[in-house]
């Protein structure tokens, strides 16, 4: 049996803390955080002693989770690349396992990003899909992550599977930022709406965003560690089975 490392005990804490923080972020996002300015109006009213002459944008609330989730998925993919490179150098299957699980986490968070992003866009832009740089990049990312797993399934020899997956993982991780860069710099000709991300968030909005950011990162880390433990156990089981057959 493998020893339990410090990370395994940390996993519980991370998961718990992550859940707490992200819940706090979630609650604050809907209570204390002010709503973002929308279209200017000809009329005004006093709300809570504040002079308001614009529409309030509720849909922006999606971003309190959407952005952290998106960043988490990128970080997960970064770990795929890092573990893939370590695997290629050391040829130790434990790094292949880590790279694979990091990619699984990336897939989950990419899907979460896509789902929340598409709903926001459906409301704000009135379409389910447009070839906007971020969306396109995420779509490409989704395809690459799915391709990573299909590639793994198509290879039988474990060493070859691990090596090829690592090579593709590195390429995919490099391709994602390139994809964003190129689609951003060369826009499509019919560009619908410019993103309304306000730079310099007021503290009321920054706090819930940061809370959810750290919370979700911790949740991701916790889930990663659990999955790692579970998959290690499974590998041990396969070994035991193989030994019994001999």
């Amino acid at each position: 049996m493998r020893e339990r490392t410090i990370f395994d005990s940390l996993a519980w804490m991370a998961l718990l803390l992550g859940a707490l923080l992200s819940t706090a972020g979630f609650v604050l996002a809907f209570t204390t955080a002010p709503m973002v300015k929308g279209v200017d109006l000809q009329v005004f009213a006093q709300i809570g002693g504040v002079h308001v002459d614009y529409q309030l944008l509720f849909s922006q609330k999606i971003f309190y989770f959407h952005m952290p989730v998106a960043i988490t998925s990128f970080i997960a993919l970064l770990f795929t690349a890092i573990y893939s490179i370590i695997f290629l150098v050391k040829k130790d299957p434990k790094y292949d396992l880590r790279a694979r699980i990091a990619t699984e986490i990336a897939l989950v968070f990419v899907l979460m990003t896509m789902a929340s992003g598409m709903l926001w866009e459906r409301y704000e832009w009135g379409v389910w899909w447009t070839w906007e740089p971020r969306l396109t990049t995420y779509f490409i990312l989704t395809l690459m992550v799915i391709a990573y797993f299909i590639l793994r399934r198509a290879l039988d020899d474990p060493e070859r599977r691990a090596t090829y997956a690592a090579v593709f993982g590195v390429i995919a991780a490099v391709n994602a930022p390139i994809s964003f860069l190129i689609t951003r710099i060369i826009p499509t000709r019919t560009h619908p709406v410019i993103f309304r991300t306000d730079s310099g968030l007021p503290p009321d909005m920054l706090l819930p965003l940061l809370l959810s950011m750290f919370g979700i990162l911790m949740v991701a880390f916790g889930i990663y560690r659990f999955r790692l433990r579970e998959q290690r156990l499974r590998l041990q089981l396969e070994d035991l089975k193989a030994q019994l057959e001999d």
């Binding site: 040829k91 299957p93 474990p158 691990a162 193989a242 001999d246």
Partner: protein, 249 residues
Amino acid sequence: MTDTVAIAPDIHLALAIQAEGLGKSFGSRKALDNVSFELPEQAFLSIFGHNGAGKTTLLRVLSTLARPSAGKVEVLGLDVREKPEELRSRIGLISHRSMLYPDLTAEENLLFTARMYGVQNPKARVSELLELVELTARRHDPVRGFSRGMTQRIAIARALVPDPALLFLDEPYSGLDPHAVEILDRLLERLRFGKNLVMISHDLNHGFALATHLLVLAQGKVALFTERDELDVRSFREFYRNSVGAGGI
């Protein structure tokens, strides 16, 4: 035949192969586990074992196609990990797959190989080899149209292009008709002088008859390594049956 790949005179090649604690594993799967043996120069080693016993993996490690994950292996005095390219110019491999391009002619295939190795005057070398395998008449025909035996003969010629000091044979007899077996036998008889041969064989009798040394692998470990003269074929069969099992005989 001389070879200008210079060998420093002070290196004395007493051993063709020296394996020490050789292992090839991926995670908990061990294809080769602590394989150690020493094969002297001018030897003919026959490797036996079941499917999955690690025969092919061993051959791939010795021929630099796969990297060992543990231990130290020197082939012709060259470490397979540190000097693979130098070693590659001195070894040849004949497997049950011909490693030829079916759409190229016999001559084109051999010329390609000769040029890649850097043989000077490749045309003369190729003619010589075609003569050796008795296929001069078919030199301009694409390999695709050749029979299994003819293809295998070209494959042998291909492996001999750089005049390797060590020749690996991975089940070279599989799929050959009796006539082709005869030709291969004759070729091997001619080749074994001045060369080292390492052969994987399914056929106990055949492998035993040709060999000077025997290596039996079981589950990636050495079950037996001995000079052939220490055993007669009956006791070898008996050993094989008892230690490895009845299969493969």
